[in-house]
Symmetry: C2
Subunit: 557 residues, 2 copies
């Protein structure tokens, strides 16, 4: 009995093992649920998303009920059952990122070829940490880094011939996104500031404390405009200098860093014996898409021997445009530059790049191990924050080839021009107020009828603040209502416009990078906002605001 039980259980295990092998060796049948989805995505992506993503918003707490079980199921689930679950519970309740009427995200529609190319990438499953697990993917990624380097720094052919595939150096670091790219740049900058000297083996070896003691610094700092991306604060935390050492410099009325204040702060810190390890310029602030005066910043950095980093995660691809490239003048003087491929290079999520003008800069973070990224190897892992990484560079490589400089130029130009047209549309509409003019393809605005706008500018400080606070509530509500309806989407953020003496002002934020977004779609979107604003609930709020403004006028009379 016992033996036969054992035998039965052995047979069962063998049967299970057999069926387990099948999932590794037998493809999904074309007429299976998964096979059908696969074809439907391949043949009509927009249709698939339209059909399966439910437009109307479901409450998050409600969605969570479908993902409440912390237990890994004991028994295998049929592929078809799981896929049905994925369709009904996950796809249905995902966000329609690529919809042309969803202009609040920094990701947009993807070129069709990206999908089958991604399949090649997934099927090969290379690991870019080392040549041994990536082979040709390593030189390919080095070329992609080289191409982005050339886009920015335009060095001559000899330079790339010398450095692009050099085993001891890296012109940049390919990573999962702008956050890691910024971290990489500041990591390299920090380690170069506290470089080996005499009996100090360098920060990388001996640590921050020993480094600061060796060089006699009282502190370290990174300077960026108050519109700097939140990843910089996180980097300051991770790198050990602390968030308070990331110093936000005030911006002007156009959300650009005030270089007079930047220079002054540099000198102040120097007097306090606090070492500025990097100045960061922004090309396309996340909130308003503005570009810092890079040339002037480069001057300030150069005069003081400070690492100049440019975060062009969003706006870097503007360099493709003959017409608008000059907005970025000075970027070629940066010591390091971040650029996100999953934003305006139209690559799927998970691809960022940081390039360095000088091939030596990134050497300050170089590292090796025994079984991997050995010294003298060409393994890319010796200069990256991440270890194992997928071959996403294949998507960037193909994007650059298939779309080409001119193709990207068209994408950039039409985005900027669409943003200007949308800004004109808003300015022409008396019920809306443009808060930031688009410099690239991002703009912000809010619902504020002309009479309210006028009264607000004339109102005393306290009333203005109060009304702006009321308008903020209204904007928030309007944005959420529109999102909930599921037809269109703008994001929202909070700014401190100079116009209102830096009162916090919540705004709609439109990002116009999706080539499929037409002016008609934007007209409809604005009309929908108007319609929501005209609803009794919102009109009651607007009425209260008007009354509040009038009430004070009475007082003042």
């Amino acid at each position: 009995m016992h033996t036969s039980n054992k035998l039965a259980s052995k047979k069962l295990a063998e049967a299970s093992l057999e069926s387990l092998y099948r999932i590794f060796t037998v493809p999904e049948a074309p007429d299976s649920t998964l096979g059908q989805i696969d074809q439907s995505i391949s043949q009509n992506l927009a249709g698939f998303l339209q059909q399966h993503i439910v437009a109307a918003e479901r409450d998050l707490a409600d969605i969570e009920r479908d993902f409440a079980d912390p237990h890994i199921p004991e028994q295998p689930t049929f592929v078809s059952d799981q896929i049905q679950f994925v369709l009904d519970k996950l796809v249905a309740q995902s966000v329609h990122i690529s919809a042309p009427s969803f202009v609040g995200h920094m990701t947009s529609a993807l070129p069709y070829f990206m999908l089958p190319l991604s399949r090649i990438m997934m099927a090969l499953n290379q690991n870019l940490v080392k040549v041994e697990t990536s082979k040709a993917f390593t030189p390919m990624e080095r070329q992609v880094i080289g191409m982005v380097h050339h886009l920015i720094y335009q060095q001559n052919d000899d330079f790339y011939q010398r450095w692009m595939h050099d085993r001891g150096h890296a012109l940049g670091s390919f990573c999962s996104g702008g956050t890691i790219a910024n971290l990489t740049a500041l990591w390299a900058a920090r380690n170069n500031v506290l470089a080996p000297q005499g009996d100090f083996a360098g920060l990388g070896q001996d640590g921050l404390l020993a480094g600061m003691q060796h060089y006699g610094y009282k502190g370290m700092a990174v300077l960026v405009s108050e519109r700097g991306h939140y990843s910089l604060g996180k980097a300051a935390d991770i790198l050990g200098i602390g968030r308070r050492s990331l110093i936000g410099i005030e911006t002007d009325a156009n959300n650009k860093i005030r270089t007079d204040l930047l220079a002054r702060k540099c000198d102040e810190l120097k007097q306090q014996n606090i070492k500025v390890m990097a100045i960061v310029g922004i090309v396309g602030t996340s909130e308003t898409g503005n570009v810092d005066p890079l040339d002037a910043m480069a001057d300030i950095a150069a005069e003081r021997g400070i690492h100049f980093h440019v975060d062009s995660a969003w706006g870097g691809p503007t360099l493709f445009s003959d017409k608008y490239r000059s907005l970025l003048k000075g970027i070629e003087r940066a010591d390091s530059v971040t650029l996100d491929a999953h934003k305006q290079l139209y690559v799927p999520m998970g691809a960022g790049i940081c390039v360095f003008r000088n091939p030596e800069t990134l050497s300050s973070v170089e590292h090796h191990a025994e079984y991997i990224i050995r010294k003298g190897s060409k393994d890319l892992g010796s200069h990256t924050v991440e270890g194992s990484r997928p071959g996403m560079a294949i998507l960037v490589h193909s994007g650059l080839q298939i779309i080409g400089r001119q193709g990207y130029e068209l994408l950039i130009d039409q985005g900027i021009e669409k943003a200007r047209a949308f800004a004109d549309m808003i300015k022409a509409n008396p019920d809306f107020e443009l808060i930031s003019e688009p410099e690239l393809n991002i703009l912000t605005y809010r619902y504020a009828p002309a009479d309210v706008q006028q009264a607000l500018l004339a109102a005393p400080v306290n009333l203005r603040k109060e009304v702006n606070e009321l308008l903020n509530g209204l904007t928030k509500r309007l944005q959420k209502t529109q999102r909930g309806l599921g037809r269109s989407f703008v994001s929202r953020t909070r700014l401190n416009p100079v116009k209102y003496d830096r009162d916090p002002v919540i705004v709609f934020r439109a990002v116009l990078a999706n080539p499929l977004t037409t002016l008609d779609i934007l007209t409809d979107m604005l009309a929908e906002q108007q319609e929501i604003a005209d609803s009794p609930a919102i009109q009651e709020l607007t009425g209260q605001i008007r009354q509040r403004l009038r009430g004070t006028e009475h007082h003042r009379e």
Copy 2:
């Protein structure tokens, strides 16, 4: 003339824009190059790889010539041309990671369903940094983190009910891989050690220097066995404590940390006023797959109030196995645990997880911003090193459902048992020497005929060192030759076996995680190594080694 030129160029731009729209709106035709590849991968992945990956090795310098141009092409390239290039130059020269005879990598074959599922992920292109760009993917990822948490910590249902979807907390952090997972764990540990107190706002705000001064520490340290993964050294660099503060503790003959030395070092450092911010245990060292004595390490950490992190990037999934789970006893006492999904959860590259026993631990790295990951939101980005991230968790979720606990158990069990069988095969072969016994599914060995092994053990120290050095050259050459032939692949690494009094010994490293690797394949692989070893070139080297060993015997006579 001028006007008509302008008009012509406008028309041209419109035509280009039109063709550009097409890549966003018109799917690849099924009979296009890309369409055909897509089908071929879907229907017969192994066949596709076999057909397109060239077996014989091409020189890397030669491959680099295909990726030498740093210029982004001005004009668009036809999709079909680029895809042909990808096939000929990239796919052909990639590494056949999933081949059953390639047992040197930590990535293996993928279940078929992962490919169409990846397409769904890519098509949706969600960004997990915030709910607004990921919706249901956020609770789904939280569930995946919860499931892995439960796998390790087995808390009760109330616990997960309370914490899994809590807006103020995260039970873990999903990321691109084990390196970031380890960095996340050590980041949290570091910030908890130098937590806010009195007028010190915490390391995250005030920085490492202020923190160490506030708490009066002379230094910080992380302790791990000398077999610790290189990502820990990198983390020590990035986090600012410096690589020298990552202290490697000697291992015993089985590559396990010597807990006596660990405890002693902790106490030594305390006396020197150096704060140990974490002790790291390893489950499956990269080189030998051994498991540290976690329970004893947990005791040491608990007695001293030190954060105990376990790096089970490789071996974590052993917990699925009823038979082998006990090897990991004590892991449930860890404060944080790293586990790579792209290793033994059989998910494509780019999926790692770090979980924390206590829901409060990760709060030390919590961060917020204005337009994103706002305070009180459930945005996952508030507790991650990375910012924008793809929805890879969908692949882990589906893997856990479709394969189930029992399925993963089978995968784990067969890997361990195959490794033992292969070890027996090596021990039975007089020409090979097993260097490390497989505890999980990794083992190391080298070519060293029985007489050489014997003479080596009897040899005086200097000769032994010299011969081991010669054998190292031989092993390296043998491994490279086999890799170059392209039929099979083992990796190599360098160990310091106690058997040889810690002489550096280069070894073959076999990782037996691919369910499609049979014992026959391993037999063939060993036979191929034997064949290479029997070649005149290698036999000459072996002859020299024998002579060298005999020469000294003469001397000693």
